[in-house]
């Protein structure tokens, strides 16, 4: 038997099982804390920080997706400091990446009054679309580095380990080892990564082609050609 823990979230008492995250505890009393990198099917790593909350007695804001509820904790999910942090996170995201395929984040920006133009001098991450296999395309201009794709490729689902973070700091990008094309890696093309991508950076090839204006008929005849051996 695990013992229950009682804590206070936005002035309301809630009792949860030991080991419950603040995110889940808040959900139990109907308080939705916004998330971006969090996914039910992947391990949480608190990368995006959009879920931060203020915990009394803690110097720093705490990411609700990984911080566990503790006895008598006092949590504020929408304090001024929290709201300002979330707004800034959204503005920084919007200044460096293409959010056009992430409607949930765009809605969040409206809600928090985040202005995409707050950091006019920020350098946008613009990368060419990688279209190197017949199943899915990778547009890392739309990638916010949430890590979900890397995790499902690794031990959250597939145990294939075909992709990881490449580079450091601002240059960090998801990629294959030695930047090889997808078919040349250990990738099994299961598309688990596509399924968990929150921003449309990874996309099924046929959806991509449809967006490019090709008709279903044109797409259907595309896949009948064979790749030829280079002579």
């Amino acid at each position: 038997m695990t013992e229950n823990i009682t804590l206070t979230i936005d002035g309301q008492q809630v009792s949860v099982e030991q080991g419950t995250t603040l995110l889940k505890a808040a959900q139990e009393i109907g308080k939705d804390i916004p998330t971006i990198c969090f996914h039910e099917a992947t391990t949480s790593n608190a990368l995006c920080r959009i879920c931060v909350v203020e915990v009394e007695g803690q110097r720093l804001l705490q990411p609700a997706c990984i911080v566990k509820a503790a006895p008598d904790m006092k949590v504020q999910t929408r304090s001024e400091r929290v709201m300002r942090a979330r707004k800034t996170i959204l503005e920084m995201l919007a200044s460096t990446m293409d959010l056009s395929d992430a409607p949930a984040i765009l809605t969040m920006m409206d809600e928090y009054g985040a202005r995409a133009e707050r950091f006019p001098d920020a350098e946008r991450r613009e990368v060419e679309v990688k279209d190197d296999n017949p199943m899915y395309v990778r547009d890392y201009s739309k990638c916010l580095l949430c890590w979900r794709c890397v995790q499902v490729c690794a031990s959250d689902a597939q145990y294939t380990f075909a992709i990881n973070f490449n580079g450091r700091g601002y240059e960090t990008q998801i990629g294959t080892f030695f930047d090889k094309s997808i078919p040349e890696t250990t990738c099994v093309l299961c598309g688990q990564c596509v399924a968990v991508c929150p921003t449309g950076a990874l996309k099924p090839k046929r959806e991509f082609l449809l967006e490019q204006g090709m008709s279903p008929n044109e797409i259907s005849v595309m896949n009948t050609g064979r790749k030829r051996r280079k002579t």
Partner: protein, 738 residues
């Protein structure tokens, strides 16, 4: 961003795992496939086939108009020399450059003409040569409803039990063994229970490629739940990376290896006496039969060190929850039944059955091979595994189908392999093939080809003209999974819904509608009426079947609207049965059936020094009718033969070189993959590729009880060949994972 018009929840048409799919449809076109993360079967995970491999339904070569041969349309006598024809005549004009008579040309027609011609010919042959001349291949890819109706058509109208499907080529050995020893032939436990095992054996199954989602759960069991996996396989398959022990046995030596494990378990006193006493029979004789199967004896035959056999036996026997998962490497042998029995013995000795996280788990290949078997698409059984030679069973179905008493045949029918070997004057004359491809899936295809030519009349009901359909007289265009309603039953007996996502292309029709339409025309000609063929929807078909087959009695479409039910579901309020045999076995006590070691029928010799074993690839499916018409073919476009580096060096073969692989029955030219994935003396060929069909080489020796062919071991020779001997020298396979 594309906003879907609708998202349709359905079941994957590929393997037996039965993953839940969501098809995202825009303008009647599926542009994306996802899976719900709370799905009980696959937890949101899919493989490349399930997520991306559905595009064959849009392939330009898909046939969506009924076709008949010109001779039939013009009412001319059948010309000589049946040959494969893949091309369809344009606007009825003769096919240019046809090597044979233009009377064999495929000509487009309407449904009325095609079905009338089919009905006329089938009735003519039936009235002339009787029931024994009629035979049908049902289809493990089609729905339960489709299969139920097709076997009903042949049993109720043509009064024959010559009904079978590809289960014969797949798990027949396991089915017979389980029927004999246990009395039921499905997976005893739920696949996702693998995380509850603490020791499990995977044998004869390259799970990562053939049941990819179950393999993920196996890896999870090892990595996150501390389970220990024992892999028994002649190939160093992907799962070996996660295994505690790998026993690389010589193909076809399962019996001595697993009997030796049983020997160790008995000799070291690791048996579960209580289970043996309460739940089994025949133990004493069985123990006597084990005497000769010492680990040292097994080592001599299988090549696996005796010490490893001992380790494996101890691990499995001492487990709290042990389980066995197996595939075709057990059943596709001329002693497939014996081979499966040795696994059953291990479970009986240790009592690793009848509880959650244990079990005897044959991993069924096709999306609906379990269902097609349940539906009676087999020559000895009505739906629900009711023997056809049992008077009570026959009477039940006579009542259900309103056939006059004594009308249904009590004679056991012919199996898949027998149907073709009986294709001659006085034998089988007409063959109806729904969705199967014997010209790829039978062993020793050169002989199969001659049998196909011997047939008088062939109906193909499919979505493409595949290697078998190319021999047919009539082609009836059916719809694929995304254009019909129905149910599939997956490998762990879960009955799940299949739903229509888009309108049928061209004139194609769901299989069940084609069968009903044809059946009515047949009955009109025979001036005979059974019930019934005017169903308003597929659920009515399922309910009719479930009225006699009690395993399905409590299943309605409404009950499986969101989550499938695992049969037996005997009543409307029964929650389904995730784990079988908790109290007893269907036959009462589990029966130990002593077996002896019989070697494979063709062992390597000086002339043919290699053992060829065949199998499948992640990217392809069986005869390739679907996957070779998909983008999947781009990522794996050619057959390869795997050969061990030591053997390759000896024969002067480098990676990528063209080689000729030859057996006593045929030869193919393919590129070599030099890899330690195979073992010394063993070569491996995937059998999906028509231009280099592995089954031209395989041996058509049969298991005497299950009549399953020996796909997993035959003798071959490998020689260097020239580039221009390859079917497609310019095709490129460039993959990192192989």
């Amino acid at each position: 961003m594309i906003k879907p018009d609708r998202i349709v929840t359905t079941t994957c048409p590929y393997c037996g795992v039965g993953c839940n799919l969501q098809l995202h449809v825009k303008d009647d076109f599926i542009f994306k496939v996802t899976s719900p993360f709370d799905s009980p079967v696959n937890h949101g995970n899919l493989c490349v086939k399930g997520r991306f491999g559905y595009d064959y339904i849009y392939h330009p070569k898909r046939v969506t108009t009924p076709l008949v041969r010109r001779y039939l349309l013009e009412g001319k006598p059948k010309p000589e020399g049946r040959e494969q024809v893949f091309a369809v005549s344009k606007d009825g004009k003769p096919i240019e450059h046809s090597q044979i008579s233009n009377l064999w040309d495929w000509v487009e027609t309407d449904w009325g003409t095609a079905l009338n011609i089919t009905a006329d010919k089938l009735v003519e042959i039936y009235q002339r040569d009787g029931s024994d001349a009629m035979a049908v291949y049902c289809c493990a890819k089609a729905t339960n409803e489709d299969n139920y109706l097709l076997q009903k058509m042949y049993r109720a109208i043509f009064r024959t039990n010559n009904v079978d499907h590809c289960t014969r080529l797949c798990h027949a050995g396991s089915v017979v063994a389980l029927q004999q020893a246990v009395g039921s032939s499905a997976m005893s436990n739920t696949a996702s229970q693998v995380i509850q095992n603490d020791v499990f054996i995977v044998t004869g199954s390259n799970t990562s490629e053939n049941h990819p989602i179950i393999a993920l759960q196996m890896k999870e069991a090892v990595e996150k739940h501390g389970a220990k996996m024992i892999v028994v396989d002649p190939r160093r398959i992907d799962l070996v990376d996660f295994a505690e022990l790998w026993l690389p046995l010589k193909p076809g030596t399962n019996v001595p290896l697993f009997s030796a494990m049983a020997h160790v378990i008995v000799k070291e006193g690791l048996v579960n006496n209580e289970f043996i006493a309460n739940r089994t029979e025949g133990y004493q004789e069985f123990v006597e039969s084990l005497e000769k199967f010492t680990p040292e004896y097994a080592e001599k035959i299988s090549g696996v060190p005796a010490e490893d056999i001992r380790k494996a036996a101890r691990l499995y026997a001492k487990a709290r929850n042990g389980a066995i998962y197996w595939g075709m490497g057990i059943s596709q042998l001329s002693h497939g039944t014996a081979s499966a029995l040795t696994l059953i013995h291990l479970a009986f000795l240790t009592g690793h059955i009848g509880r959650e996280g244990t079990g005897l788990n044959p991993l069924r290949g096709q999306n609906n091979v379990q269902g097609a078997s349940d539906m009676g698409a087999m020559p000895y059984h009505y739906p629900g595994y009711m023997r056809v030679d049992n008077e009570d069973n026959a009477k039940k179905w006579e009542t259900a189908w309103r056939v006059e008493p004594g009308g249904l045949s009590r004679k056991l029918g012919l199996t898949t392999t027998e149907i073709l070997s009986h294709a001659h004057e006085g034998g089988v004359r007409a063959l109806y093939i729904m969705g199967e491809n014997p010209m790829m899936s039978e062993p020793n295809l050169n002989v199969t080809r001659e049998h196909m030519k011997e047939l008088e009349f062939i109906v193909a009901q499919d979505i493409f003209i595949n290697e078998s359909g190319a021999f047919a007289d009539v082609f009836l265009p059916a719809t694929p999974f995304a254009e019909k309603e129905g149910t599939f039953s997956n490998t762990d007996r879960r009955v799940q819904r299949v739903r229509q996502a888009q309108t049928p292309r061209g004139q194609s029709r769901p299989d069940w509608q084609i069968i009903c339409d044809l059946a009515l025309r047949l009955e009109l000609r025979l001036k005979r009426a059974t019930v019934k063929w005017d169903y308003s929807d597929p659920e009515e078909i399922l309910r009719e079947m479930a009225s006699v087959n009690t395993d399905y009695a409590g299943i309605t479409y409404q009950r499986i609207e969101k989550v499938g039910l695992q049969y037996p579901v005997p009543t409307m309020d029964h929650p389904g049965t995730p784990t079988l045999f908790k109290e007893s076995f269907p036959r009462g006590r589990g029966k130990f059936i002593p077996v002896d070691y019989v070697p494979v029928k063709e062992e390597p010799d000086d002339e043919y020094p290699f053992i060829l074993t065949t199998g499948r690839l992640l990217e392809h499916w069986h005869g390739g009718t679907m996957t070779r018409h998909s983008a999947l073919n781009e990522i794996y476009p050619e057959a390869r033969v795997e050969i061990h580096p030591a053997d390759a060096e000896l024969h002067g073969i480098r990676n990528g070189d063209p080689v000729k692989v030859q057996s006593r029955r045929g030869e193919i030219v393919v590129r070599a993959t030099v890899t330690e994935k195979t073992t010394v003396g063993v070569v491996f060929i995937p059998w999906h590729f028509a231009e280099a069909a592995g089954n031209l080489l395989t041996n058509d020796a049969l298991d005497p009880q299950a009549l399953i062919p020996e796909f997993k071991a035959c003798a071959v020779q490998v020689f260097p060949a020239r580039e221009n001997e390859l079917a497609h020298p310019d095709v490129m396979l460039q993959r990192g994972r192989y």
